[in-house]
Subunit: 446 residues, 2 copies
């Protein structure tokens, strides 16, 4: 009972959260319920039923399949499924005409054969990448409608009448969806695309902040090197934010298609092409953020002392980047220009970093002086021959192999400053890419 109660509370919270996150969802649900009730009136009211009859049920099915959250998606689905249904009806009609002259048995065989052929072809066509991406549902509806019509048409003498009635019914369903989704409290895909961009920018800013917290506690992190290596790949907790920015492709490409179908509406037109462009740039920013994070996880680590020297300027740059991102998200949300001084503090932070690096040039020296390349080669040869011996005499190869390759890599005494240099370079790279984002957002503001 206790558990049941807990579950109910959690359920209640979730229901509220889904509604609060986007109140348009509640409106949409009511719209769908209303449309279906209106359509079922055709069935329930006697005079309407006389005119349309059993076929009314297809209008219900059609509405269930095409009524989507945004106007663009509804239009897109309605068109693709409408075309699928129309061509299926047309094909079924032709098959009926052709088979008119055949006998009863011949007709049955012909129908069975056509079902086989159409089933095979449509299934095969659905493997085509472009069809799968854009017309999958349309093809499926074509396939289903054709089968339903021809097979049930076998026992229905008046198939032509049925075909026309179904057309009529689907037109009713389509019209109702259009009215409900475009004319009454419409949800636009363009708006969704904008929200998606804003949430991506905010996720990036948030994850950079998280990463600041990580660098802040990097001291403790460093005192246990063994622990670090174990927990390093793949660390889930931080990736989350970046991945939101990277997962652009599938969902947002669909939104893009839908948005392109929407009429230019209201005083403010959502410039979806620009959102798509901005999304691409953000994705690249996300990649940089991920490799920045990768540097923190790298197995070759800059010594703690070096890190401590540069922590402050690096953190400053990262903070500024996060701040700029948050401001940009705000300015997109409010459809306004962002301040022309938005990146000033970031530039200042970059200058500080530059100065910090220049003040410590010795760090970018290798840990060994320059005169010993020869000995190194000798070292290498010694290491290699030793390794060969090791390998030849080992019995449980696997674990040794693993240790060996770890030694092999960590024994390479790459300059200790390498990872730090990579870190800095990526941070600067990030600031540069941010510049592009700012430009794009300014473009949007106009």
């Amino acid at each position: 009972l206790e558990r049941m109660k807990k579950w109910t509370v959690r359920m209640h919270q979730m229901v509220c959260k889904v509604g609060k996150d986007d109140p348009r969802r509640v409106v949409h649900s009511i719209k769908v319920g209303l449309s279906l009730t209106l359509l079922s009136l055709i069935y329930l009211l006697e005079p309407l039923f006389q005119g349309i009859g059993q076929n009314a049920i297809w209008a219900v099915l059609f509405v269930i399949l095409i009524f989507e959250f945004t106007a663009g998606a509804t239009l897109y689905k309605g068109l693709s499924q409408g075309i699928g249904t129309l061509s299926a009806l047309f094909l079924a009609f032709i098959v009926k005409v052709i088979s008119q002259s055949m006998g009863r048995t011949g007709y049955a065989v012909f129908i069975g054969f056509s079902v086989f052929v159409i089933g095979m072809l449509t299934t095969y066509i659905r493997f085509f990448p472009s069809i799968k991406k854009y017309y999958d549902q349309g093809v499926l509806v074509f396939f289903a409608t054709y089968n339903l019509i021809t097979v049930s048409g076998y026992r229905d003498q008046n198939m032509l009448h049925m075909v026309f009635q179904r057309l009529y019914v689907i037109a009713i369903g389509f019209g109702l969806c259009i009215i409900m989704s475009i004319l009454i409290l419409p949800n636009w895909s363009g708006k969704d695309l904008q929200n998606s961009i804003i949430s991506k920018i905010e996720a990036l800013a948030k994850s950079i902040n998280e990463f600041l917290i990580l660098t802040a506690c990097v001291n403790e992190y460093f005192q246990e090197p063994d622990k670090k290596v174990k927990s390093s790949y793949p660390s889930k907790d931080i990736d989350g934010g970046y991945e939101a920015a990277l997962e652009w492709k599938s969902a947002d490409e669909a939104l893009e298609t839908f948005a392109s179908l929407e009429p230019r509406h209201s005083r403010y037109c959502y410039p979806w092409q620009q959102y798509v462009q901005l999304g691409k740039i953000l994705r690249h920013l996300g990649y940089t953020a991920i490799s920045l994070h990768g540097c923190l996880e790298s197995q070759i680590q800059t010594p703690r002392s070096v890190r401590a020297l540069f922590r402050q300027p690096c953190q400053h740059v990262a903070e500024e980047v996060a701040k700029v991102l948050t401001e940009l998200a705000d300015s997109i949300r409010k459809h306004c220009h962002c301040s022309p001084h938005i990146a000033d503090e970031l530039h200042g932070a970059l200058q500080d970093l530059d100065i910090a690096i220049k003040s410590q040039p010795r760090l970018f020296l290798c840990s060994k002086p320059a005169t010993v390349p020869r000995t190194d080669t000798l070292d290498l040869l010694a290491w290699r021959s030793k390794r060969q011996v090791d390998l030849s005499k080992d019995s449980n190869r696997k674990s040794l192999h693993r240790t060996l390759s770890n030694i092999a890599i960590t024994s390479l005494e790459f300059s200790e400053a390498l990872p730090f240099a990579a870190f800095t370079s990526l941070l600067v790279e990030m600031a540069l890419r941010l510049e592009l984002v700012i430009e794009e957002v300014e473009e949007l503001g106009r």
Copy 2:
């Protein structure tokens, strides 16, 4: 006509390509065609029709909706849609029983109301993230079935009979799908998951090779710095390969669910959990590859002379990485152990790189000597005040702002070796991550 001919040829090529890429697709298409023909026999043959009747059409619809390419997907869809249909039938039955005592008008109002409530609730539920991810189709089928049954049940006195017949028919459809997809020439999701991993590894190897070609022609690339900056973001041609490795999530998560449903079959069991694990590690490798590519595109570039010095060892490492990846893909495909010496040459290449870096320690010095941080701060102050003046008097702020921020960043004289250091560090990082991939593949081989 000429165009028509061309189009036909292209179409023909595409049809052949889809079949050649995976001959199982052709088999699957034939299986679908066959199943539907068998089901339509119920309708076409007189004795069978007497028993089942009009409802046969629902078996056809059910099969069209659930018959998927792999056995796991068919099972998953069959179960979720079967449960959806069953609960819809159950609910419709209850509504029918409750409304028994009402008058004709009361019944109609009750039905209309229930359609509204159910429509609203299911639409709202479909916004829940977990429902959307796993049970979307099941909920949709529940919704559609409930509407069809209650609305059409209004004029059908014998609804109970209809409900049972429909159950019967759906059981036939489900049984047929199971037989066709699991017993006759089955396609396993586990196999698909394996193929997906192999193609990801190969895509990574291919893109690293492509990137070698790019570095090879980096000389020409560098002589036109203006052109470079313009064409740098977002460059499409190279990203392709990496993105294949990154786009793990949506499609492969589905495959994962499907594979978990499949019975442990045949002599070789596909270890799907390990494939998923491997996919995660590969994704991280892909991120590193992307930032490596980002280094090539960076606006702060290492001078050509520096690059030329290290090009050879870097290329060697990259080549070895690509080679190891190709070998790993092969060993997964053949379900065999990979050679224990697979990474030996890679280690050799890393050693060479190490030596090359150590032989040129001066490069990792800053371009300016260490004694001038003061002047730098002065520079900075001068630059800032100059900038302030510039900003206050400018009229077309935008373009100037852009130029200014570009100057601001490129004027920061970060050590010229920084981007190169980042590049090297990432390359080494990649080799390290590759080590993890090798381990995972060895695990798989057992």
